[in-house]
Symmetry: C3
Subunit: 660 residues, 3 copies
């Protein structure tokens, strides 16, 4: 399917739930809607292996062949998210156990334990069989492993196999129980263990040690990474197609770790209109994880739904929601789902066509997007998103750490990271790569690292130091470098290295609860900080802002210090959006952007490659916007030539190619 | 007690909780309050059978005889709601098990399983004994079975006996497991079962299939129906009195099914003032279920209460709350309770007299109601509520179906049915019978059927078709005829028959969340729909309203089509109150009403019979109201002659007899 | 340590969590902060007895000696709140079991059952060992038993040992099961038990009898009392120091009962600024429980915190929060904690110095308080709080009773007692002793007893009667004397004795939900009542207020009746603050106060003794206040002479000594 048009455009298709003879009618409707990719097999284990060891792939070959012959690319999914009833009946040890010891029931999803040896063996068998059947099928363009891996409930699976593996993991990490006792300060509250076998799963109803909770949640994440990698290894061995696993914009499983064995990111999201300008955070993140462009494997055409239909979206939403992943570097957008289920847990979910095969009300938008993909395919295929010089750290490990010890009342890491750092940057037209601590820093001028409590993740401390000394600008804090990898405090200083690197002395630390404190910037402007307040004695560092009230009055709030060829800007508090972006812009080169002038509701993503240049422009809030085009561009969607200041009406999409 | 004055007026009496010698004092107080019926025995099993097989009814004979000799009618209750401690101790298999496998404890109520064979046997024994003792007692005017049967917790009883019986019920219904798998689309999510023995009880904490949930909840309902019918059969065999079971205005147990074996509806309600105008829905419903007039077996004199006293009511509330069931066709109103408990779970509940035997503050209202019953007894006994020509469908099965799959976010069937259909009709003085799908349609001109998703309940589809073809006007929708009895969608059309019957084509369907859409009626007026939006291509049907915005713009919202001698009016959305009532009124004959002109807070219930004519009038909201009397009436409560436009002050009751 | 300066000033110190060599640095910092007492050992069982039967106290001797030699007094704590892991591993029967039968996990606190015979034995051993080691140590100034004893979860420990002991307790109390059945009215709902062995632990998820719930909660309280008394007996035998147990301002464990075996009250509180004027209730209570002055063993220097830091406090809060217990009769104030934890469940809690040994932002306030304690030490040590002539009843038993049966919707005993009685008095400068029902009444002119439902607690009925007849003024109600000690109603009257004592007849009783009723006082003023409404026929009593609306209109709301040389003022409802204080003031002698005129935000606590006189003055709300000094005082904190009307700025503290 090398010739399949990109961007791929498609949907999830569940032929196992319909009469097979209906497929021709479906294919005709799919073509009429303008789609060219279908995702199949996701939950169909019981149809592939209705009785243990008895396989039936005939129907699936028919489906793949029919689709392929009609010009569709097929994404093949492993169905391990929904084991058949015989798994629960014959191998109850495979079922997830909650923190109260209760086994999950058959009839839902994600109810099998990622660490169960028996479940892994059963998965190995079905995936091997599938790979043998479809591993070299020419119509298949890629594989999806399982579906939306995440830690079930508040503590994931708490079965005996998980428990034992967790204890072994800690033994590997700490060697002796005394080391663990010491690392976690377990004289406190007489907690000290005398063997690894005593370490409990930390129930959410018991007041447990935050280091234990983080270790457990991280272990759960690793368990799914390991489970996924097992399938990835199999598929890489037996198939010729790229492999991914579709994940949601939620915590629990570490994105960076799980993609070490995968070829691409597959991403599912169901973002409501009022949060659409925030989901770009995730696209700016997943673009950085793999070499191949990501696929948006699931999103809604209109409303979400399970047994209720939730959230009609206004005209144009389908358009911008479909274009968004493409604009930000993705290569595919697929809807969930093609045809609404006629029964079951999600029978009210929006789709492309209804259970009775009638296109839904946004069908014209679907067709319009398809035409748009068609006319801009060449430009999009030849160009890539211009790599930003600016990066923002985001760590799934911190998500666990700050979940177990949020530092300040009501602090939620991901929300604050997006609302206080990411959105201020992007609404002021700075383009940013959101990166994991393990990511290389080489390509960036400026790296912003708020809330990176444990700076030793993936050796970041040493790599950062070198990168700064080589000329990088690091904007750090607050709540950065204040915890060890054991999730405990440093005791020589509030920080691991930050006092040493900047020379400052942190005199006081105050939580931003219940109130904010004011400060004055070196340009004389005044503004409030947010969330947390470190008060520094400067000791030779340059002071960018000083507190003007409270016990911190007169102490430095933001300082700058050169280190080698580079510099550190240390934020003692979270600045307001304007000052934050001011500090970033001033710190970096002109390559940081903004590349375009546009109003805050307008996303502009520059692209370049193969001699072409341009940008994809999307209005995100269904409000009037503006953009200033410095030279002449052709909007590939309309064919119009555009230049200068333009109105960007609500939910507009433009694919601008620079005219020579 | 044939000569006992009607309406009956009384209370629940628990002599087992007091010194027996106190009964004479109580009877004197009862007489002074103006009551003539007492309900006894309800929870007194341990007093009747303190040790298994050892019975003591002497005290109860004394109570019945004392009451009877003093001129009171007695309602005798079977005490099966509260088994003695020896049941829990010797037969723990009788106890309800919750969905987590935890047995309920002795010490509360309703903790025995309706399907437990042992519990049924123990109930059979005590009920048989009671019937032998009191089955022909002349003072007894009727029996009450158990008390407020309802499904405990979120999933009812989940004991092994229930589980097994549920699986057998499904086997009886579907024959083979493949039939069930197919009917519920269980290829989806690899759910397919290989035997009925694998089907679980659907825990509320697991994301389960809505068809399974509805089947389970319906099974729980049937279990209580069956348990009640067992007692009813016994009592019918051994006693000469009419038999009922007192039920609350709540879901769970199917009203229509349980009353197939009962002689009358017994009804308990504790409606707060702000909802009093809605509880009439229930009276308009229970009036249609049995041939005998219903009894309001429980309501509060003043505040409700358990260990707190909740909700003082303003003067006049006791009066109108007591008259309301009588006005709407009931034959009795009893308070819960006669004398406040001096201990226990409900010791703060309002009553007629306090624990120390002192009348409560509303005693004068009680006496006034008694005098009112007296002076209007002849008129009320000779007349009946004029049977409306208008009916509204209400289905307990739909309550389960729409509970498991509410279709639209936050949709609650009973609330929407009352608020969007029932109240608009009644506040505009249309009188309506609320009927179960099993009810005969013969007496009605117009039947309104919103939210009847499964039109095949009780063969309604065929009966409706015939009734329409014979001349009926059916006003259907939205959300009507969109599900099979398996709670799944039709796949040939969004509807089972509605497209076929009306000729329309439903182009789009849109949930009314988060916003409403406007439409224009054929008379040029504009208004918003609510909840759900079907957009029709008319195909020859008459268009009564057309959408004017959104993707439905230009499609028909409400259509009318003749079928045989009758017609169907198909509502694609829920109309506003005025247009709804306009459509109904225009559709039916003049016999539909309104019979009187009155303000919306004034309930007017016409009565007729034995040459007499009139109405009971009740102001429901403690606000000033108006009524227009077209001719001269005598208010039996005051003796006044009334005619023309009258003020109806807050909480007024009038019993109007037409003057010749 | 007889010469140790009072008030004691200190903190909780956990040397087991730090390198031992750090102690000298800590001691230097402690001295610099101005502290002179440290509390140690609290949770260090695993450090004292790391393996069962193997003890290590060397480190603790080192700590105590280092501290003592540096001039610090030491409070030694028994560590029984946090048993080592070997307790959970070898003796799982020691673990608390929740009401669902689930054992608690090691790793938190308070997870051992107070009734476990094995746990008691293990506690006996470690406490004995500690007492042998430190029982006569000259640096130790007192012992603390365990930490914050309270009933875990909603029902405390529900293990088999607790259950059996509860049944035995009821058997001791009632003798025969028939007595219990009768006392609790267990014919109701067929609840009657046939043996004590059948009585269940009342789960919070089951609708249980309020008498059973109260009995259970009271039993749980007694279990902790018994557990604490066991340790107290041991310590009294083996040590020469005074003994207490530190408790929180929460319900669950009966303060009066537990202090029968203790030498002093130790009290922990973490009151936020907006409630600071209410925590004085607790100081006015604990001052009355023991002969020795109480110790405030824990409070925060700044924010509270576990894994989040919650609630920065404005400048001055630390000062007034530290002075408050001293002002109200305490002898010590200690912070929790000295040095912030560097790991664990509470690593974000405020402290005196940070984990890296840096003083927190409020360090200057700490030093200022220390100097203040120094300069006022002589005055404070020679004087005592002037004992009020006014008392307010507060009963931990009522807290259980009214928790199980709150009488009126949303009624919460402790909140209403403080908000409707205590605060109105104190804000109008009446000083009050808050007393347990067991307390002697001899010293008081006026006793106020609202919500004392069960007047027979501690023989209060008889003692009150005698005290009134001897000249006391008793202000009672509402909701007083309306329950037996079985938590049931009286049946001869709504009250046990109140009608008999006052001669009135309570005609109606109405809950104050959802609205209040108005009344007119004998001086012609009008005001609303609150919460509850008794309407009295006066029958010769003097009427102080009469209802003017609703069904109570014309009935007496507040009456006064002489009894012997004294009088009863019976409140049928809760008066507004002004009328309440008016009634109290008018009823008592001039000795009741107010002693000073001051604004409501200013606390003034008069002191006297050894020829000295004066007062401690504290502004509680960080608002401007006023005080009128009738003669000349010296403020010991500033050295200034003061007289007449003075401004009291926000968060001011003054120690005023009368100048001769």
């Amino acid at each position: 399917m090398a010739s399949l048009r990109k961007p791929y455009y498609g949907a999830a298709y569940y032929p196992e739930d319909w009469p097979l003879e209906q497929i021709d009618q479906d294919i005709a409707l799919m073509k009429d809607a303008g789609l060219n990719v279908m995702r199949v097999g996701e939950f169909a284990w019981s149809r592939m292996e209705p009785v243990e060891g008895q396989y039936d792939f005939e129907w699936l070959h028919l489906v793949v062949n029919k689709l392929g012959e009609a010009g569709f690319g097929v994404i093949m999914c492993t169905p391990t998210c929904t084991p058949p009833i015989w798994v629960a009946q014959h191998y109850p040890e495979c079922l997830v156990v909650d923190e109260n010891g209760v086994k999950m029931q058959h009839g839902a999803r994600r109810h099998a334990c990622p660490n169960s040896a028996m479940y892994r063996e059963l998965c190995r068998r079905i995936v091997t069989k599938m790979a043998e059947e479809f591993g070299n099928n020419e119509y298949i363009i890629g594989w999806q492993i399982d579906n939306e891996l995440f830690t079930v409930g508040r503590r994931g699976c708490c079965c005996p196999e998980c428990h034992q593996k967790f204890q072994l993991t800690l033994k590997e990490r700490y060697g002796t129980i005394d080391n663990l006792n010491e690392a976690w300060c377990l004289n406190l509250w007489s907690q000290a263990y005398s063997s690894f076998g005593e370490i409990p799963i930390p129930k959410s109803t018991i007041w447990h040690h935050p280091s234990l909770i983080t270790a457990w949640m991280d272990f759960q994440s690793d368990s799914y990474v390991d489970f996924c990698s097992m399938q990835a290894d199999l598929l890489h061995e037996l198939t010729s197609h790229p492999v991914g696993t579709d994940m949601m914009p939620t915590g629990g499983v570490n994105y960076a770790k799980i993609h070490q064995k995968l070829d691409m990111v597959q991403f599912n999201h169901y973002t409501p209109p009022e949060r659409l300008h925030k989901v770009t955070f995730w696209f700016d993140f997943i673009r950085t994880l793999c070499d191949r462009p990501f696929w948006n494997t699931e999103t809604a055409t209109c409303w979400n739904g399970s047994t209720t239909a939730n959230g009609y979206k206004e005209e144009g939403f389908c358009r911008v929601n479909t274009w968004l992943p493409i604009a930000l570097g993705g290569e595919a957008c697929l809807y969930w789902l093609w045809r609404s289920h006629w029964a079951g847990h999600e029978l009210m979910h929006g789709s492309v066509v209804s259970s009775s095969g009638r296109p839904l009300h946004m069908i014209d938008e679907v067709r319009e997007v398809s035409r748009g993909f068609e006319v801009s395919s060449e430009f999009l295929s030849n160009t890539e998103v211009v790599k930003p010089k600016l990066a923002l750290h985001f760590s799934c490990f911190e998500w666990h750490l700050l979940g177990a010890q949020p530092m300040v009342r009501d602090f939620r890491y991901i929300d604050q990271l997006i609302d206080r750092y990411y959105v201020p940057m992007t609404e002021r037209q700075l383009r940013v790569d959101v990166i994991d601590p393990s990511a290389s820093l080489d390509d960036y001028d400026v790296v912003v690292s708020p809330f990176v409590a444990a700076l030793d993740e993936s050796g970041l401390r040493e790599r950062l130091k070198k990168w700064i000394e080589d000329g990088g600008t690091w904007i750090a804090g607050p709540l950065t470098d204040i915890r060890t990898m054991d999730c405990t405090k440093f005791t020589h200083s509030p920080f691991g290295s930050l006092e040493e690197w900047t020379g400052v002395y942190c005199k006081y630390q105050i939580p931003g609860d219940p109130r904010d404190f004011a400060m004055r910037y070196s340009d004389g402007t005044e503004a409030l900080g947010k969330i947390w307040y470190d008060g520094f004695v400067q000791n030779g560092a340059e002071v960018l802002a000083t507190y003007t009230e409270g016990p911190l009055s007169g102490l430095a709030a933001i300082v700058r210090k050169r280190m080698g060829k580079g510099q550190i800007i240390l934020l003692g508090t979270v600045p307001d959006p304007d000052h934050l972006v001011g500090i970033i812009s001033e710190a970096g080169s002109s390559e940081l952007g903004p590349y375009f002038e546009a109003s805050s509701n307008v996303l502009v993503v520059p692209r370049k490659g193969n001699g072409m240049e341009g940008a994809v422009v999307i209005e995100l809030k269904n409000e009037p916007g503006k953009i200033e085009l410095p030279c002449s561009y052709k909007d590939l969607l309309t064919g119009q030539s555009l230049k200068g200041e333009l109105d960007v009406p609500g939910y507009t999409v433009m694919v601008l190619q620079k005219e020579s």
